[in-house]
C-alpha cells in the first residue's frame, strides 16, 4: 500500500519535471543493479554530536581504576540497574537492551579506546574532523561518506546518499549527489506550484533548483500514516527518524547509504549513571537501532550501522557529576552484516600515567581504521582510495580487517 502511494506521488512530480528540459537532479535518482555476489550492502552512519562518554556507555568494569575515576556515575555489575556484561572486562549500559541482544546474537560489536586524529577539545573542530575525514579541522567542503560515494562505480550499486534531517550533515556533503529527508508532516505545496518554482530557479538560481528538486523527490517516499511528527521526547524522535530512514532504505530503489546525527551528548553536569540524562539518551539510541533492524527487514542482513562521536570525555568526573571534553571513546557497529559479539580494544588502562594528558582515556585505535574497514568490506573500496581520497593522508591508519561477516 505504501508502495502504491509512493509511486503515484513520485510519478506525478517526475512526469512534470521530465516534461521540461532534462534536469540534472534526476540523473541522481538511485540507480541500482544487484551486485554479482547477490549482496545488497547498506550502510548507516549515526553521528552523536556533543561527545559521547564511552566509559559510561561501555564501562571497563574490569579496570581497577574505573570506579574511582567515574565516581558517582560509574556503572556496576550489581545494584538496581546492573550493567550488562559483554565479556569478562567490559559491560554495557543498562539502557541498551536491544544492542545487548544484537551483541549476543553476534550482530553488534564495540570498538573501545578509539578516536579520530583530532587531539584538541573543541566540539565543532572535532565534528569537522570526524565528518570531513581530514586529519585536521577546517575542511568543511566535503565529508568522507560523500567521497566514498563518489568513489563507488557509478550506477553499479548506489549513486546517492540519504541525508536525514533538515540540513545535510557534513559527513555526507560534497560532489556526490545526496537526497534529504526529515520527518515532518504538514500540508504541502501542490505539485504544480512546486514545478513552477523549480522552473524559475532553473533560470535564475541553479543551486536552489538543485536543492528544491531533491527535497521534493524524497519527501514522499518516506511518508506513511505512522510518520507524522508528534511533539514528543528525544527518545521518540530518535526512533521516528530511524523508522523513516529504514523505510526509505528498505525500498528496492531506495538509497543504500544514509547519514544522520543525534544531538545532546555533551554531558558536563549531572550526567547520571545507570539512570539519568545519559541513560535517557542511550535508550533513544538503542531504540533507533531496533527501528533500523525491524524497518530494514530482510535488508538488515546486509546492513552495517556505524555509531561514532567526535571525541570522548574526561576519565575522571568533574565537580558537577558530569564529564568534560576528553579524547578516547567508543564506536559501535550493529547490523546483520557485522561480525559481532566482540569488544575490540587494545586497552590502554586507566592508571593516571596511562591517561592522555593525565585526564582522558588514551586512544589506541584510529577511528578511521574502523570506518575504512567497514567501507572496504561493504563496498570493496581499495586501500589506495581509502587512504588518499576518502580519508586523505591516512595511510598509517590501515583498514581494520574482518569487521563484516
Amino acid at each position: 500500500m505504501i508502495d502504491c502511494v509512493e509511486n503515484r506521488l513520485l510519478t506525478s512530480r517526475r512526469g512534470l519535471l521530465l516534461g521540461g528540459a532534462s534536469f540534472a537532479a534526476w540523473a541522481y535518482l538511485p540507480k541500482f543493479a544487484r551486485a554479482a555476489d547477490g549482496r545488497d550492502p547498506r550502510l548507516i552512519v549515526v553521528i552523536l554530536r556533543g561527545a559521547l562518554d564511552g566509559l559510561s556507555t561501555v564501562a571497563p568494569l574490569g579496570d581497577p581504576d574505573y570506579a574511582g575515576l567515574h565516581g558517582s556515575i560509574a556503572l556496576a555489575a550489581d545494584g538496581a540497574h546492573p550493567a550488562m556484561m559483554l565479556d569478562s572486562f567490559f559491560a554495557l549500559h543498562p539502557a541498551m537492551p536491544e544492542f545487548s541482544r544484537m551483541y549476543r546474537d553476534k550482530h553488534a560489536a564495540v570498538i573501545h579506546a578509539v578516536a579520530t586524529p583530532y587531539r584538541d577539545r573543541s566540539h565543532f573542530d572535532g565534528q569537522d574532523v570526524l565528518e570531513s575525514g581530514y586529519a585536521g579541522p577546517g575542511r568543511v567542503q566535503s565529508g568522507w561518506l560523500n567521497r566514498a560515494l563518489e568513489a563507488l562505480p557509478r550506477g553499479e550499486r548506489v549513486s546517492s546518499g540519504l541525508a536525514v534531517g533538515p540540513t545535510t550533515p557534513l559527513v555526507l556533503r560534497g560532489n556526490a549527489p545526496t537526497v534529504g529527508w526529515a520527518p515532518v508532516a504538514l500540508p504541502q505545496a501542490d505539485d504544480d506550484t512546486a514545478m513552477r518554482l523549480v522552473d524559475l530557479y532553473r533560470h535564475r538560481d541553479p543551486a536552489l533548483a538543485m536543492a528544491l528538486s531533491q527535497g521534493l523527490q524524497l519527501d514522499k517516499a518516506a511518508s506513511g500514516d505512522d510518520m507524522k511528527r508528534k511533539p514528543g521526547n528525544a527518545v521518540a524522535q530518535m526512533r521516528q527518524v530511524a523508522r523513516g530512514t529504514a523505510k526509505l532504505m528498505a525500498a528496492d530503489d531506495g538509497p543504500r547509504i544514509a547519514a544522520l546525527a543525534f544531538d545532546g551528548w555533551d554531558t558536563h553536569a549531572n550526567e547520571g549513571g545507570p539512570v539519568g540524562r545519559l541513560a535517557f539518551l542511550l535508550g533513544g539510541l538503542d531504540g533507533a537501532l531496533a527501528e533500523f533492524e525491524s524497518g530494514l527487514g530482510d535488508r538488515w542482513r546486509d546492513t552495517v550501522v556505524v555509531v561514532a562521536t567526535e571525541f570522548g570525555r574526561t576519565a575522571r568526573i568533574n565537580g558537577t557529576d558530569g564529564t568534560d571534553h576528553g579524547t578516547g571513546t567508543i564506536a559501535l557497529l550493529a547490523g546483520g552484516a557485522v561480525k559481532g559479539g566482540r569488544v575490540i580494544s587494545d586497552w590502554p588502562g586507566l592508571k593516571l600515567a596511562n591517561l592522555h594528558e593525565g585526564r582522558d582515556l588514551k586512544p589506541t585505535t584510529d577511528l578511521r581504521s574502523v570506518i575504512k574497514g567497514v567501507l572496504q568490506d561493504q563496498f570493496g573500496l581499495s586501500d589506495r582510495v581509502l587512504a588518499e581520497t576518502v580519508f586523505p593522508d591516512s595511510a598509517s591508519a590501515r583498514p581494520m580487517k574482518g569487521l563484516v561477516a
Partner: protein, 516 residues
C-alpha cells in the same frame, strides 16, 4: 532624484529584513539614498532597546520559575497524599522517587524545544469548544493551560517579532539577531533558560549592540541565563570553602566557550591550561537561588565561598586575587586580544556579506574594532561604508527567521500571536533561542539551502499563501519587494501563476525574497 533599485535591494535585504508592504515606500526611500537609509537606524540608539508591557526582568522571571516549581511540587505531593502508593516500601520510597523525578526532568529538558508546538493546538480550540458543539467520542484531552514559562517565552517572542516586523530597515534588529546568536543560550537547557531567553537578549545584548564589545561580553558572561546555560553556577573552586565542604569542583564549560566561541576563536592562541585557569577565575560567578542566601533570587551574584582563591595565570598574565574584579579584568583583556578582533570581524563579514568573507573588508573591520576598543556601532558603520558590502552579489540565503520576518513585513501583518512563527522556525530547523549547541545556528548557505529545508520553505510559503493570498495583489507586492530590480523570470512567474495564492507562494520563494 536618481533611483537605484538594485542598491535598494542591498540596503533592505543584505542589511535589513526586507521591504515592508502597504504604504511604507521602503524601496523608494532606500533607492534614493541606500547608505543613508541603512544608517538612519543606527542614529537612534534607544531604538535598539526593547520594552513592552508585561516583559519582566531576569530577577522577576527567576522568582516566577521558583514559585512555579514550588507549586508543581506541592501539587504533586498533595496528589501523593490523597492517593498513597499501593505497593510502598516506606524506607525505600524517597531515593527511588527522586531518581524517577530527575529522569523525568531530563526528559522534559531534552524535549523542551518541542513544547512550542502545543500552543498551535490551543489556537484551534475555541471552535471545538462552541457551546453547541458535541464532543466527539474520542476527543483529545483538553490541552493544559500555558504555564508561566511558556507564557513568558511566547510574550518575549512576540515582542521581538513585532519589533522586527515594524522596523524601518531592520538593520538594528539584524544586528541584535547576529549578536544574540553569537552569544547564544538555548532555551532547551531547562525551565530557567526558557523563561530567561528573551530577557537575556533584552538585558545583555541589546544595550550593547550599538555600544562596546567589552561591555557586551561582561554583561553576557555575568547574566544568569548564560551562567545557567553553560553550567557555571555549578562550578566550584576546588580549594574554595564550598568546594571543600561539598566535595565538588570545576566545570570548564563556560570558560571554554568564552574563549572558543565568544572571543578568541579556535586557534586563537589559548591552551587547555588557559581554559582551566579561566574556569578557576570565574568560579563564584553565579546567580542567587530560590532561598536567596546570596542575594535576591534570580540575580547575578559573586559567591566568594565558591571562588577558587589565589592568583591565576591566564594567557601569560597573572591576575591577582581580587574576587569578582579578577574575572572582570580577565574578560576585559580577552576582549582586547588581537584574536578576538579577527574572530569577530570575520564572523561579522561572513554574516552580512558572503560565506567566504572578502579578506580586505575583514582586515578593515578588524582594524576598526582594535582602534575603537570594540565599538560595535563603529563596526556596523564601517561595514555600511565599505564598497564590498554594496558590490558583492546577494548570494547569502535568508535564515528561516529572516525569511519568516521578511514575509510578514511584505504582507504587512504585524503578528498578534507568535505560534505560527515558532512552529515554522521549529520545522525549518531554527527553533527560536534554541540552537543545538553553544555555537549557535549556522550562518552559511550549506545549512539553509539544503534540499529538505527548501522543500519545507515551499510548504510554509504555500500555507501562508493559502491563508492570505486572496486579499493581495501579487504584482503590487513584487513592486514592493524589488520593483525594476526584479528579474524578468520572477516577474513572469508571478504574473503567470494560476491563482493569487500560487502567485504569492512563488513570490515568497523567489530568489529576490530568499537571497540577501
Amino acid at each position: 532624484m536618481a533611483r537605484d533599485s538594485q542598491a535598494a535591494l542591498v540596503a533592505l535585504n543584505r542589511f535589513g529584513f526586507g521591504a515592508r508592504g502597504g504604504a511604507s515606500g521602503d524601496l523608494v526611500n532606500a533607492s534614493s539614498d541606500p547608505r543613508g537609509f541603512v544608517k538612519a537606524e543606527l542614529a537612534r540608539a534607544s531604538g535598539v532597546l526593547l520594552e513592552a508591557p508585561g516583559l519582566q526582568s531576569t530577577q522577576q522571571l527567576g522568582q516566577a520559575v521558583f514559585a512555579y516549581q514550588d507549586q508543581v511540587k506541592q501539587a504533586r505531593e498533595a496528589a501523593k497524599t490523597a492517593a498513597p502508593a499501593e505497593t510502598s516500601a516506606p524506607t525505600e520510597q524517597k531515593p527511588a522517587l527522586r531518581r524517577n523525578l530527575s529522569l523525568n526532568a531530563a526528559a522534559a529538558e531534552i524535549a523542551g524545544q518541542m513544547t512550542e508546538a502545543k500552543p498551535a493546538d490551543n489556537a484551534v480550540r475555541p471552535e471545538a469548544m462552541q457551546p453547541n458543539a458535541v464532543a466527539p467520542p474520542a476527543a483529545k484531552p483538553a490541552p493544559q493551560p500555558l504555564n508561566v514559562i511558556q507564557k513568558t517565552f511566547r510574550a518575549e517572542a512576540l515582542a521581538r517579532l513585532q519589533r522586527a516586523t515594524l522596523a524601518e530597515c531592520g538593520f538594528t534588529e539584524r544586528l541584535v539577531v547576529f549578536w544574540s546568536n553569537h552569544f547564544c543560550i538555548s532555551a532547551s537547557k531547562g525551565e530557567l533558560a526558557r523563561i530567561w531567553a528573551g530577557a537575556f537578549e533584552r538585558e545583555a545584548i541589546r544595550p550593547h549592540v550599538l555600544g562596546r564589545f567589552p561591555d557586551m561580553l561582561k554583561a553576557v558572561e555575568q547574566h544568569p541565563a548564560m551562567l545557567f546555560f553553560l553550567d557555571n553556577q555549578q562550578s566550584l573552586g576546588p580549594d574554595s570553602r564550598a568546594g571543600q565542604n561539598r566535595k565538588r569542583g570545576l566545570n570548564e564549560n563556560l570558560a571554554r566557550e568564552i574563549m572558543e566561541l565568544h572571543t578568541l576563536g579556535v586557534g586563537g592562541g589559548y591552551t587547555q591550561e588557559d581554559v582551566t585557569s579561566l574556569a578557576r577565575i570565574i568560579t563564584g560567578w553565579t546567580f542567587a537561588g530560590r532561598q536567596g542566601q546570596l542575594g535576591p533570587p534570580g540575580s547575578f551574584v559573586f559567591n566568594t565561598n565558591a571562588h577558587q582563591p589565589g592568583p591565576h595565570m591566564l594567557l601569560g598574565k597573572t591576575y591577582e586575587p581580587t574576587g569578582l574584579a579578577q574575572g572582570e579584568a580577565a574578560l576585559a583583556d580577552i576582549a582586547r586580544h588581537p584574536s578576538t578582533a579577527n574572530f569577530i570581524a570575520t564572523k561579522f563579514v561572513r554574516h552580512f556579506v558572503a560565506d567566504d568573507p572578502p579578506p580586505a573588508l575583514v582586515a578593515r573591520l578588524r582594524d576598526v574594532f582594535v582602534r575603537t576598543d570594540g565599538d560595535l556601532k563603529a563596526l556596523a558603520v564601517a561595514l555600511v561604508d565599505s564598497d564590498e558590502a554594496w558590490q558583492a552579489p546577494l548570494t547569502k540565503m535568508r535564515s528561516p527567521y529572516d525569511f519568516l520576518v521578511a514575509s510578514g513585513r511584505l504582507l504587512a501583518r504585524v503578528p498578534e500571536d507568535p505560534s505560527r512563527y515558532l512552529n515554522g522556525l521549529n520545522l525549518l530547523g531554527q527553533p527560536l533561542w534554541s540552537p543545538a549547541g553553544p555555537n549557535g545556528f549556522p550562518d552559511t548557505n550549506a545549512a539553509w539551502a539544503a534540499p529538505e529545508g527548501m522543500k519545507l520553505r515551499l510548504d510554509i510559503a504555500a500555507q501562508i499563501a493559502a491563508r492570505l493570498g486572496n486579499n493581495i495583489d501579487p504584482i503590487d507586492l513584487l513592486e514592493f519587494v524589488a520593483a525594476d530590480a526584479a528579474s524578468i523570470e520572477t516577474r513572469r512567474t508571478v504574473e503567470r501563476a494560476e491563482s493569487r495564492q500560487q502567485a504569492l507562494a512563488l513570490l515568497l520563494m523567489s530568489p529576490e525574497m530568499q537571497r540577501r
